[in-house]
């Protein structure tokens, strides 16, 4: 076995996006030794790409908003599959976390009264997204980064963890490598917080970066944690479509929040077609284009335009329009915000103006954008206790996109930036409390040896396929059969491809030295990608209904029985099992909130 450096912490945080940084702040404030590991440089995590805003019912816009309305919106948006207690904690504490962020130094856009300005977004009844133009994620990550750095955790940048170490059912540490040198590192820690984000890179067209290979959730699964709702992948309705180099890059929902209109190639504003209005949203949206136009100026007396339905609904509508032959030249639909006036668009959506002008050759203050759904977010993930974010493995905690349960079958825009604040803090607190009373567990040396073999294998081989080839084939398979429209036949075909690729992934080859070698890194990543792809497809096969992001054309309606169950994925002896488990019961005081929705 190759020698490695051993580093000890009380709490190790995997990931330095919003959830990881917020968790680290809590750990440092508890006076514990905190280590943060991140695959990129600090401040480059996916949070930086969030645009529209952070949802919290501050009620700054003279509308009767409070956490209860936010609760109802989130459950409705999630098609009733959310963990109700998580949503309750989330909607209440989101308010405190946003105000706390402001005390850390975040500088949000203001109302005329000098309070935080809030914008409308899909599925939110009232203006609720606290924002900074269309670069809210950057504001959030930089604020948390500065705050965390001021508290002095040790940050291991450009370091990749490939194995969580468990001894007698308790977390013992994590093993991986430093990207720059390629040397091995062993972290011993009393507790670990996984805050490693999502896994959009399994698909061909995604808004996600290379980092989103799902290592954290895959490692947690292998370590004995449960994953839930893995079939629920979010397809964001508006990704860039043209030119090809930009395919999949996000176009913020704030464009629609600021009045953006969707039209098909015939010029129809198709979201007004009643076939796209789900029963549970009947009567809550404008029914004429005139009402939608009045809403821009008078939100109290008019209803929202149907472009602001939740993302799953809008994505499906765009998909159906294009499939029915009403798509644009490049196979999408038009999104137009130019009617708001150039000055307004430039002030509210500066990054979008820049992105389209420089990279797409489109001036969005004057002409429409071409858009198509893009893989964006993972609602499913590691199953956690709502109070502490503890997983099924003692000492292992999870928060943010890699955790599941809060968003149910579909996440509302704006809910992820507050998710990472609320549950980042809870995971940090939970891990600190656990670490305070836990001994350091013994390191399972066998697992370290095994992991070294897996890591070094691709460099030792004389021949073998490139991991990029396998990743490409996986992306094609997932894009073809595990996207918006799903069937038993397509999913089965996809699963067969994944299992075949899994075999091939054991024989991939990487060339060159270990210093900063992306090909070598990809050789390990592909195994995580395949494991989670298998979990996604097996879960999608198990859920024989359509709900939220899961649209099965062979089971086209919501099934009330499936509405009472989450699909849970577990690993035992290297085998993956998929089991429906009962959804946690909604407490009576929360049921009352849902019943008020009928009035």
């Amino acid at each position: 076995m190759e020698p490695y450096e051993t580093i000890e912490y009380d709490v190790l945080v995997l990931g330095a996006g919003g959830a990881g940084l917020r968790a680290a702040i809590s750990v440092c404030e508890a006076g514990l030794r905190c280590g943060i590991v991140c695959k990129s440089l600090l401040g480059k995590a996916h949070t930086v790409m969030a645009e529209g805003g952070a949802a919290a019912a501050l009620g700054n816009m003279h509308e009767p908003d409070d956490w209860r309305v936010h609760f109802r919106d989130t459950i409705l948006g999630g098609a009733y599959l959310n963990n109700p207690r998580m949503v309750e904690i989330f909607t209440k504490e989101a308010i405190d976390r946003v105000l706390e962020l402001e005390r850390y130094g975040a500088v949000f856009d203001r109302t005329p009264e000098g309070l935080i300005a809030q914008r409308p977004f899909g599925g939110h009844t009232y203006r609720r997204l606290n924002h900074v133009g269309d670069r809210t994620g950057l504001e959030l990550i930089r604020t948390l980064q500065d705050k965390a750095v001021s508290l002095g955790p040790t940050v291991h940048m450009e370091t990749t963890i490939t194995r969580l170490l468990v001894h007698d059912g308790r977390i013992a540490g994590a093993f991986g490598y430093e990207r720059v040198s390629g040397r091995f590192l062993l972290f011993r820690s009393r507790a670990i917080v996984v805050a490693s984000g999502g896994w959009g890179r399994m698909y061909r067209f995604t808004s996600n970066s290379w980092e989103s290979t799902g290592d954290g959730a895959a490692m947690a699964l292998e370590a004995g944690a449960d994953l839930i709702d893995m079939e629920m992948m979010q397809f964001h309705p508006t990704g860039m479509l043209w030119p090809p180099s930009m395919r999949g890059i996000l176009v913020t929902e704030a464009v629609r929040g600021e009045g953006g209109i969707l039209r098909n190639a015939r010029g129809d504003r198709f979201m007004f077609d009643p076939v796209y209005m789900p029963a549970r949203y009947q009567g809550k949206f404008a029914e004429t284009e005139e009402e939608a136009a009045r809403w821009l100026e008078d939100k109290a007396n008019n209803r929202r335009p149907p472009e602001l339905l939740p993302r799953d609904e809008v994505s499906r509508a765009i998909y159906k329009e294009v499939k029915a032959g009403r798509g644009t030249e490049h196979g999408g639909v038009y999104l137009d915000v130019s009617h708001r006036g150039a000055a307004y668009v430039r002030r509210k959506l500066p990054a979008m103006c820049d992105q389209f002008l420089h990279l797409g050759g489109v001036d969005i203050t004057r002409e429409p954008m071409e858009v198509y759904p893009t893989v964006h977010y993972t609602m499913g993930g590691i199953r956690v206790d709502p109070e502490t974010c503890a997983t099924a493995v003692s000492g292992l905690f999870a928060a943010g996109e890699c955790a599941g349960g809060l968003h149910g079958a579909n996440r509302l825009g704006g809910n992820s930036l507050t998710d990472i604040l609320v549950f980042g803090k809870r995971a940090g607190d939970g891990a600190s409390a656990y670490a305070g009373g836990a001994e350091m567990a013994a390191v399972p040396i066998g697992a370290v040896e095994d992991e070294q073999r897996i890591l070094l294998g691709p460099l030792d081989r004389e021949d073998g396929e490139s991991p990029a080839t396998l990743a490409g084939e996986l992306q094609e398979a997932m894009q073809a059969d595990a996207m918006i429209e799903r069937t038993e036949e397509g999913l089965s075909r996809c699963l067969a491809r994944i299992l075949e690729l899994k075999e091939r992934s054991k024989r991939v080859r990487a060339v060159g030295p270990r210093t900063y070698n992306p090909g070598w890194h990809a050789a390990r990543d592909i195994r995580f990608q395949l494991l989670l792809s298998e979990a996604i497809v097996r879960s999608a096969l198990a859920r024989k209904e359509s709900r939220g992001a899961q649209w099965r054309t062979d089971y086209p309606s919501m099934d009330p029985e499936w509405g009472k169950r989450n699909v849970v994925v577990r690993m035992q002896n290297g085998e993956m099992s998929v089991t429906p488990v009962p959804l946690p019961e909604m407490a009576p005081h929360l049921k009352e909130i849902m019943e008020e929705a009928g009035r």
Binding site: L41, G137, L138, V180, W242, G512, P513, Y516
Partner: protein, 248 residues
């Protein structure tokens, strides 16, 4: 019909290296980062480069393209390949080379740790009130994506390697963001003058020219900070008072 472009990418590490040539297929809208990644995926998996968002939001993929420091994700192949259809891609020069297009920028993170953080007033937990007009000033500086392109063109850092004396434009922007934050109560003028070395900037505006976020680094951040320091330390009346009272 598909076209191609020739990339001359620097390959090597601290011990030395050279340009290597790669030919890649182009497609509409292709940016330099796409072409470099195509080499990575199809020709040489060990080619090192940093990238994340591919949308000019994270500031990871800084490089010197035909000698000009830019973000690879925001530079279109067609705009820089010229009639010879050749592009030279090198790592940014001001920081030590690790490998290929990746440099050791850790100095910047160490500098960040030394800057005294925001000190907001205690409002007893009440929501903070700030005017948009005040907020707008600080927001310009908070657009920074930490690509370090400004650091790499700064003469003090690049030509004179005075990283011991001057924090560089990125951290002038950060200090300006704190200075102009409506809620900050901490005075950092002595820090600006001594540790951060604001006096070293000789206002060539090179940093401002390369900023992909179009932050007016010199005009809106550095010059006002210089004025703060000048006001405090070089005001003749205050200098006289200091001399008479013996206070610093």
């Amino acid at each position: 019909m598909s076209e191609t472009v020739r990339l001359r990418i620097f390959r090597g590490d601290a011990s030395g290296g050279e340009e290597k040539e790669y030919e890649v297929q182009t497609y509409p809208g292709m940016v330099v980062l796409d072409s470099v990644r195509q080499v990575q995926e199809q020709q040489d998996g060990s080619l090192a480069c940093r990238w994340n968002c591919k949308a000019a939001k994270c500031g990871s993929c800084s490089a010197e393209i035909n000698g000009v420091p830019r973000l690879m994700c925001k530079t279109r192949v067609e705009d820089v390949c010229g009639p010879t259809r050749t592009i030279r891609v090198h790592p940014i020069k001001t920081f030590p080379l690790i490998k290929d297009l990746v440099t050791d920028v850790s100095w910047n993170y160490r500098i960040a740790e030394t800057i005294p953080p925001l000190q907001p007033p205690d409002t007893g937990g009440k929501p903070l009130v700030m005017d948009q007009a005040d907020v707008t000033r600080a927001q310009e500086f908070r657009k920074c994506i930490e690509c370090f392109l400004c650091q790499t063109v700064c003469h003090v850092l690049r030509d004179h390697n005075r990283k011991d004396a001057y924090y560089g434009p990125r951290y002038m922007v950060k200090l300006a963001a704190l200075d102009m934050h409506p809620l900050d109560t901490l005075r950092r003028r002595e820090f600006l003058r001594n540790e951060a070395g604001v006096g070293y900037c000789n206002i060539t505006r090179c940093c401002q020219d390369v900023c992909p976020e179009e932050i007016r680094i010199t005009d809106n951040a550095i010059i006002p900070l210089k004025e703060r320091v000048a006001d405090e330390y070089y005001d003749p009346v205050k200098m006289l008072i200091r001399r008479l009272t013996g206070r610093k």
